[in-house]
Amino acid sequence: MNPHSDRSWAGGAGTLAAPSASPGALPGLPSTGVPAGSFRGRGFGERLGATEREDAWWAQPLAQAIGLGLLGLYATWAAFQGNHYEFGNYLSPFYSPLFKPSWWPISPAILILWAPLGFRATCYYYRKAYYRAFFGDPAACAVGEIKSKGYCGELKFPFVLQNLHRYFMYLALVILVILWYDVIRSFAFAQPNGGFRIGIGGGTLALLFNTTLLSLYTFSCHSLRHLVGGKLDCFSCVAAGGPRLKAWSAVSVLNGHHMGFAWWSLFSVCFADLYVRLCSMGVIHDGVIYLSSLFDTAGGTGL
């Protein structure tokens, strides 16, 4: 049942008339039923910089633009390299799961990276960050805009695709499983004479740290919060309400830190790639502490 065709709000609204298209509203766009332009305030059409704020309102969007810009540039560059993404039992998270068909002409990262990229691009936090930092829409609160005309929010292509965030979240969950597999693999160091030894290397820590942060980022997702229980109105009225309340509450707690996880996991994923890359290029030397043999001294050479 489409709620739109069955809304009884007009009936509930007593003597009030149903909202009709308001004069001045474009067809196909929403309408509050209030005439366009009849309640215009002083802020209408203000351009960037037209603000009465006296603090350094530009500092935060600037910092965000620099941060997102640099990390974004590095990630793009690294993804297009198509080399130095593996080092022994370490695999760069940009290239995981590694899928390298012979017909694919460029870096294998491009085949899989769209999924985590899509997850981040449609993320409710990153949306805020880049709308502010790159689109200036608005750059900061109570500040004018770069483009003050023709705003249509997330109603039209491409921004309407933001609504598919939950599908990217599903993919992110799948990738997360693979990344945890990578973490486990990063503990197992192949020995020259065959067989494995369990150990912890610098790369192990980088991957573990990164995958933990990516997990926190993914499990604090707003869409996940909705799906595990947020969509319910009354937990005590439905089957399995108790566990769903617990799940929703747990995701809600994580969700309160979504912004932090978004930033830290972005740093960590770039760092993990950089670490593997530098090891593979021979620029740095990976140290390993072996755990599987009591007689082996610490600081043995890794692969």
Binding site: S22, P35, S38, F39, G41, H226
Partner: protein, 268 residues
């Protein structure tokens, strides 16, 4: 409508010492207050003696009592419970009754201007009637069939947050969709997403407002830049707790392709 430009002038009050005289005794704050109406206006400077714990609204009242009896301002409770005294203090949307003077540097002039999103009536008073027009159109609470009126505190903790709203309209003021883009004919604004969230997530409510949210409240126009949450004097996490969950409910009905196919197949 005549323009009511008022310069700082001696009041008929007993405490009509010219500005500056009291400086020796106590600290003074300098306020630049917008005076004017729909036809225009300008900022007028007032020097106000400062008492401990004083808020901007106290200063405005002092100006009314001693300098400008016709200075227009809305206020009621003076305790951040009614949401009447909304204005922009140094360009930031704030409740005047909650903005302490001692939070500003002593030598800084404090500017007080009316909310920018709404048309000016006079001085610090703006025409907020648009909000009441939009409110009328929101589908009201409708108990779901068989509601037994029993629920747990944990069911309502979430909704009670939304019902803390004091309708100060600061979120509406700061929201760029209303403020800069002037889409009041297409967009209900954060205040009403909070209100709709309070109704939608009510444990006994049986109404579905997702169609209303999409086609009449214009929730798709919100680009979740969270300024509403930043200014809320009741610390309601408007964006994360009200708007985004509502957006997700709209996705359930209108944007989730698998769900749409599922509904077609099952007829639900």
């Amino acid at each position: 409508m005549t323009q009511t430009m008022v310069e700082s002038r001696p009041g008929t009050a007993t405490a009509q010492a010219p500005a500056g005289e009291g400086q020796a005794r106590s600290r003074e704050a300098v306020l630049r207050v917008f005076r004017g109406d729909a036809s225009g206006g300008s900022e007028v400077e007032y020097r106000v003696p400062v008492a401990p714990g004083m808020v901007v609204l106290d200063a405005i009242h002092w100006i009314q009592a001693h300098r400008a009896p016709d200075l227009a301002v809305r206020w009621n409770c003076k305790a951040a419970k009614c949401g009447s005294c909304s204005a922009e203090v140094n360009g930031k949307p704030s409740l005047m009754c909650k903005t302490r003077l001692d939070h500003f540097a002593q030598d800084r002039t404090i500017s007080v201007r009316p909310m920018k999103t709404f048309p000016i009536i006079k001085d610090l008073v703006t025409d907020v009637s648009w909000n009441y027009e939009v409110n009328k159109r929101i589908p009201p609470f409708k108990p779901r069939p068989g509601a037994d009126w029993r629920w747990q505190q944990s069911d309502v903790d979430r909704v009670q947050e939304f019902r803390k709203c004091i309708e100060c309209f600061l979120c509406q003021d700061v929201c760029h969709v209303l403020r800069t883009h002037e889409l009041k004919h297409q967009f209900a604004g954060p205040r009403f997403f909070v209100r709709i969230a309070g109704l939608e997530m009510h444990p006994m409510d049986g109404e579905d407002r997702s169609g209303f949210l999409k086609d009449h409240a214009g929730i798709g126009l919100c680009n979740i830049t969270k300024c509403c949450t930043e200014v809320c004097p009741e610390s309601i996490t408007i964006t994360d707790n009200a708007i985004i969950p509502l957006k997700e409910r709209v996705v359930d009905w209108f944007y989730d392709p698998l769900r749409m196919v599922w509904r077609k197949l099952t007829g639900r």
